[in-house]
Structures are given as C-alpha cells and as structure tokens.
Symmetry: C2
C-alpha cells in the first residue's frame, strides 16, 4: 500500500527560514524509513503509514518550541490507486479491522490515552475522506464516536472536525482516525492543519 | 447545494496580524453573498460555489501585495450530504455538465484564458476528491486533461497537482476544476495551498 503525506510548515515570523530549517532536524530519526523530497510548496514523506503522524508531530514540535505562531498543513494519503506500490510503505501495523467497531474504538482510545504528553498545546482541524468503494458510513460514524471519546475533541465545524489539547494525544488521535477506520486497504485521504502559539487563542 | 470553504491565511512575517487584517478587507465586496465566520484556525465562507475562488483570490492578493511570503490554505466543498441546504448557496451558474466532456474542457480553457491577470505570480498545489457514488473516472481524466491545457499546469506530484502562473488564471483554473467536473450535484472536496513570494522559488 502506498502511503505518505505532502507536508508544509508555516512560521509567522521574519525568521521563518531559520525556524523551518531548525525543525527539519527533528525528522532525522525517520529518514531511514521514509523517502523525503522537498520543493517550494511542501515536503513529501513516503513511508510506513503508522510513522507518518509521529514524524509530523516531531517536525511540528521542532518549530513550535521556538514560541512563534506556526502551522503545519498536510495532505495525508494511504491506498491511493493511482500510486505505485512501494516497498517502503508497509501494511498498517497492528491492523485490527477484522474486530467489531466498538472494540476498535476502545483500542484507539486506549492508544491515545497512552500517548506521551509534549507540553505543547495545539489546535488541529482535519477532514477525512474515504474514497472509492468498500467504505461504509458505519466506519465514518465509528470514527466520529472515537473522536468524541479521544479527550481532545473540540467541536464539529462545517467540512471538518476540530481538536485541541497537548500535541501528543492530538497527533495520536489523528493517526488513529487515519489508520483504524475505513477499509484497511482502501483509499483514505486526510486534509490537516495544526496550529500552535496563535495570538487568537491562549 | 451546500458549498463553501474553510480558509486560512499565513504570512511569514512578524507583522502577520497586520497583513491578515489588511487582506480581509478584500472580502468586503463578497460579504453580502456569503456567511463568514472566523475562529483561531480558519475563516468559513458559505455561499455560491462560483464566487468561492474569486473571493479567495482577492483575499490572497490582499496579503501577497505586501511582498511577504504568504500562503492561503483552504478546504473547499460542494454538495456535502452532511450539511444542510442553505439558500445562500445557489446551484452552479452556467453548469454545462450535460455537454460532452471535450466541449466542457474547451469551455473551461476558454474561461481561464479570459481571466484577468493580477501581476502576482503564485504556485498552487491541490487535490480534488470526488466523494460518494455518481462520479466516474472519465470525469477525473477529463479534469486532468483540462489542467494540462490550462496554461498554468506545472506538474503532477504524489497526492496532488501543482500549478504555477499569474494568480488570475491559476485561481480561474482551480475554480473550473472544482465546478465543471464530477457530478453537478455530487459531493466534491478540494484541498488547496497557494503560495506567493517564497524565497525558495523566484
């Protein structure tokens, strides 16, 4: 299964180049597992689906720890039929899609509760798109039930869902939503923004 | 049909609040046609599908004319079945979905060619998601054929397509891709980033 993300990092400061270059070093531990390509709009990460959100979390924390207002925006995808299979993209580890929905929700909640805290509060907004056939509204409603139990659910908005809390459980919640719902081999896309240190909100 | 966008504007400068507040005045001519709500992550625009991209273009030009590196990121949607019908969201004006694909591509190219130039060069990256049933791969391939003829096509990337050119034809191309392909009443979502004045690219 091909999986990856196009990731952009925005820092609202005159020193944005420094902030971004400094943050990129947080990707070092992931480099051996990912193919990484950068252009003027975004950085492509291609690799194991379950390492995508940890990599994005560490990249974002590398920028936000400077205290400036910054945003990570990403287009995350798995199972896109137009993309070639890539050996670097392993199947979803610990997929439990064969288990009943209630059990999978409980497992996802447990993983989020176990996520280490980072000390950085973030707000996140995302849309999850299950594409093609083989997906069921049950999966979507199951995902929403999980989000409401995640401990970081803020509210539903038009076209998206908003989370708020420590970056640890917020990125863990996003990862679970991406990995555990929808067909395990199906095409799922996720459109994400994560914001820290915004002057509009404490 | 419910249509709208969650729009975020990022300015890579210490004066980002000023840049954003200054740019928002560019939305004034659209206010009577849209419902507009802002929080710390994005601004919701709900209104006629064919005015969404002109409104975003003017908002973005309001920010980029200051010369700083800035990015507009938006989640655009029409026909979402989970959203209530809203009288402010009119049907797509001049929908020609009943015409053969080749004719619709030619009409879209013509509209892009007629788009006024703004003098601002931008790079844009987007993913188009036709959701639910009633969509056909023919529509997607037709849209790709249109993009390649738009005059602002740069390249296909993993998970997305990249455009580059004057903001006028670039936003016109995005609007045509969103409006003219996929079922006219179907659910279509578009995940967009537009960048200007990036130091990474002339």
């Amino acid at each position: 299964m091909f999986s990856g993300a196009q990731v952009s990092l925005y820092a609202m400061t005159d020193d944005f180049v420094d902030v971004i270059l400094g943050a990129i070093s947080a990707l070092e531990p992931y480099r051996q597992n990912f193919r990484i390509e950068t252009d003027d709009i975004s950085t492509l990460l291609v690799g194991p689906p379950d390492q995508l959100f940890p990599a994005m979390r560490d990249l974002f924390l590398g920028a936000s720890k400077r205290g400036v207002h910054c945003v990570l925006a990403a287009t995350v995808s798995r199972g896109c039929p137009g993309e070639p299979d890539d050996p670097i993209c392993t199947p979803i580890a610990g997929s439990n899609h064969d288990r009943p929905l209630a059990e999978r929700i409980a497992a996802a909640v447990q993983l989020v509760e176990a996520a280490p805290k980072s000390g950085q509060i973030v707000a996140a907004q995302f849309s999850l798109y299950p594409l093609g056939s083989g997906h069921h509204m049950d999966e979507i409603y199951g995902c929403i039930e999980f989000l409401k139990k995640s401990g970081v659910f803020e509210r539903s908005k038009n076209f998206c869902t908003k989370l708020r809390g420590d970056a640890g459980p917020v990125f863990a919640t996003l990862s679970e939503a991406f990995l555990r719902f929808g067909a395990p081999q199906g095409h799922v896309a996720l459109d994400l923004k994560v914001s820290a240190n915004s002057p509009s909100k404490a």
